[in-house]
Subunit: 338 residues, 2 copies
């Protein structure tokens, strides 16, 4: 029964989320019951959707209860098992939360999934070959449904979702243009991820400038947009959409803290006969096997080279998460726990 450090949600943010919303708690892991396994977490996933869960209000993610371990995706290793299907040493993906260990009832379908780390490092199962990768896959394949040769744009392009989107779209013969913050991220997006172009939003901080940059990067207009950020970038994209464009609405991180950011000219959705669809990937479990298979192959073959920002130790999780909300991470944000 090892000691187990956990991060609880202690109180809800008013406006911007802060470190004071979280609380470090130490406990003992309980003894296992039949069917349970004890997982030692190697990595905790930090994801933008968690900001929504900090609020009490209705969100696409259920509200995180106060005074309990903050929920989240984890990868780790079975260190004790009272379940015949799991052996000590098995590498597993689960939803263990912001803590060092979790006790999992492995008889529940979907509670744990064994993974093979021969070709794919364990941490990537929280990113490119995990929820963020499948998110990109769903938005691309099921909502945007691109034809070869179409031009697609994705915001937060260097992130876990954006980078997977780029590889998946290139594999379908599309022109892919990313939007990211700063020259280093943009260089990574074009040079290492293979995007056709990347726009640095810091160089284009308003609608007019961003719209001009999009015009240059997308000379044939935009057929599909995968939205992670919202705000003025969405306004600018709307000005460059082709008729019958599709928008996969995955996240609007720019508005997660504080006041909602308006969409300036929704009439453009009508003028261009746009289809826009919001989604949350956990409601589409039927696509996960196909998506994970393609993503695993892209990573295994080196066609998708995900980048990671790794914070050290559970104590670092709140600050790393707050940094993620401000775009301080570079690629998938993880916390290394073992």
């Amino acid at each position: 029964m090892p000691a187990n450090k956990q991060i609880h949600l202690d109180n809800r943010p008013e406006g911007e989320a802060t470190a004071a919303n979280f609380k470090l708690v130490e406990s003992q892991t309980p003894a296992l019951a039949d069917g349970q396994v004890l997982v030692r977490h190697h990595y905790l996933s930090l994801d933008p959707y968690m900001r929504g869960r900090m609020n009490d209000s209705k969100s696409y993610a259920a509200s995180q209860p106060l005074g309990q371990t903050f929920q989240g995706g984890t990868v780790g290793e079975v260190v004790e098992s009272r379940n015949p299907k799991y052996a000590v040493g098995d590498k597993v993906v689960g939803f263990g939360g912001w803590q060092q260990y979790s006790v999992v009832d492995a008889t529940q379908p979907g509670a744990l999934r064994k993974v093979d780390t021969t070709h794919v490092p364990l941490s990537h199962y929280l990113g490119a070959v995990g929820m963020p990768g499948v998110t990109a896959w769903y938005g691309l394949v099921k909502i945007i449904a691109p034809k070869e040769g179409e031009t697609l744009v994705v915001s937060a392009a260097s992130g876990a979702v954006g980078s997977a989107f780029g590889a998946l779209a290139k594999a379908r013969g599309c022109r892919v243009v990313g939007i990211a913050g700063g020259p280093d991220k943009c260089k990574y997006v074009t040079d290492e991820l293979g995007f056709d172009a990347c726009i640095d939003y810091r160089q284009h901080p308003d609608v007019k400038s961003m719209s001009a940059a999009l015009k240059q990067a997308c000379p044939d207009g935009i057929d599909g947009y995968f939205e992670n950020v919202g705000g003025y970038i969405l306004d600018a994209v709307l000005l460059r959409l082709n008729a019958f464009a599709r928008i996969a609405l995955c996240g609007m991180i720019a508005g997660y803290d504080g006041q909602p950011l308006p969409l300036t000219n929704p009439t453009l959705l009508l003028i261009n006969r746009v289809k826009l669809e919001g989604f949350i990937v956990s409601e589409h479990m039927e696509v996960w096997p196909d998506a994970l298979k393609e993503l695993g192959t892209l990573v295994g073959s080196g066609k998708l080279r995900p980048r990671e920002s790794i914070a050290e130790g559970i104590e670092a999780a709140p600050q790393a998460f707050l940094g993620l909300l401000k775009g301080k991470n570079f690629g998938k944000q993880l916390v290394k726990l073992a």
Copy 2:
């Protein structure tokens, strides 16, 4: 060769459209060539989409050329024919424009359509059993795709599109709530069109009040919304959407003159995993036969009782059109020409 009064678009509006944008012109109808027919228009259709065509800028409707007869749907009677398929006296639907007569090359597919006025008055082929009716049908059947028992809302409910939407939705077992301006229109919507409820937007002139009215009229939330107006009504509807709601974006008349009206909180589209789709019905000709058949049956059987606002004479067309943009019409806006 009868004299033919026409209304031309003389100049483009800056901001609000005015009567000075139009010009009355008198000409002679030319002699017919082989294949052509001369149609005497009985009614001209006035439709909100025409406002978009007055602008030079990109719109979902192509720009109307200056110095030419303003384009628009018409019904009338063949008065001279050099086409073996059309006889003098045939009642026809076409796109004859803002004028008393049109010369039509009836060899062109789709240029004219003969209609039967036994059960459906000729004018309704410009409304419930014409483009507006099919518009309602497409948004309902192809975008909202409702299940029995779902709650649907439509703005501009007493208009040509809204009234057809209500009848089509009731036929599918839905709860249908209209939004219209003033007690007379609301009474018509519930008492004659059979909507379950109607909200008078003049009594609810802001988001908060409209949202409260929607909550009362839609106790189970909103599953589908057919949008004709935009502005704060759309904002209010977004606050009452259920998860997986669908929005058919047909018109945003509130923003047609002047500055675009923003959508205040697009994040709600994500939170509720909404599907929103803009469309223009002339791009979906494949649905017209099925749609017109159902609409004709609804009108013929008295289940859909369309109301019409009829202006007299081609000279009255510009003022009637400007009134339509302000909601001064009651039901389908027509101009009687013969």
